[in-house]
Amino acid sequence: GAGVSQSPSNKVTEKGKDVELRCDPISGHTALYWYRQSLGQGLEFLIYFQGNSAPDKSGLPSDRFSAERTGGSVSTLTIQRTQQEDSAVYLCASSLYGQGAQYFGPGTRLTVT
């Protein structure tokens, strides 16, 4: 079946602009996660959605980062007023339940110039 999809695959933006990254999880998966992969920091958790519960935002690095999940499916990660240190690969994952194995999308490579 279809895996996790993310768009765009690459995004180049100017410092100070806002960007939106999209994730479409595996159908039927109730849990959705965002991670960031950068050279200096490795793989970092950002935010976690589980069903209709309030999201776990404990990994968001600043208030410029936000995410929403509409209708329990598609999620959008928004970064406002982008900075160069936001340059990274943003990965989305989903799992059937909150504690199971997570399946990752191909990622969005964000470059802030």
Partner: protein, 113 residues
């Protein structure tokens, strides 16, 4: 708090020889552990998972890992390396209370002809 430590940042083997990638974990309760693989410019692929069933876990592409509670280890092995195994490997523990994954720093595996 849970954590994982990958003991080698880089491992180099010859094609046809065994692979050993080492991982130690720290957890206050019985953990869920995973190995993921990331090929260059690709997303993360689940290799195998341990979730408190059999201590020897078999994964895809001939990889397996053994959970050893007494040693707090979850090393990844393969009897015979193939050129296509060259990639970065991540040992991962799941945060039971929040569902997020906590990643090790990764081990880059090189396979020489």
């Amino acid at each position: 708090a849970q954590s994982v430590t990958q003991l080698d940042s880089h491992v180099s083997v010859s094609e046809g020889t065994p692979v050993l990638l080492r991982c130690n974990y720290s957890s206050s309760y019985s953990p869920s552990l995973f190995w993921y693989v990331q090929h260059p410019n690709k997303g993360l692929q689940l290799l195998l998972k341990y979730t408190s069933a059999a201590t020897l876990v078999k994964g895809i592409n001939g990889f397996e890992a053994e959970f050893k509670k007494s040693e707090t280890s979850f090393h990844l092995t393969k009897p015979s390396a193939h050129m296509s195994d060259a990639a970065e490997y991540f040992c991962v523990v799941s945060d039971r209370s929040k569902g997020k994954l906590i990643f090790g720093q990764g081990t880059e595996l090189s396979v020489k002809p």
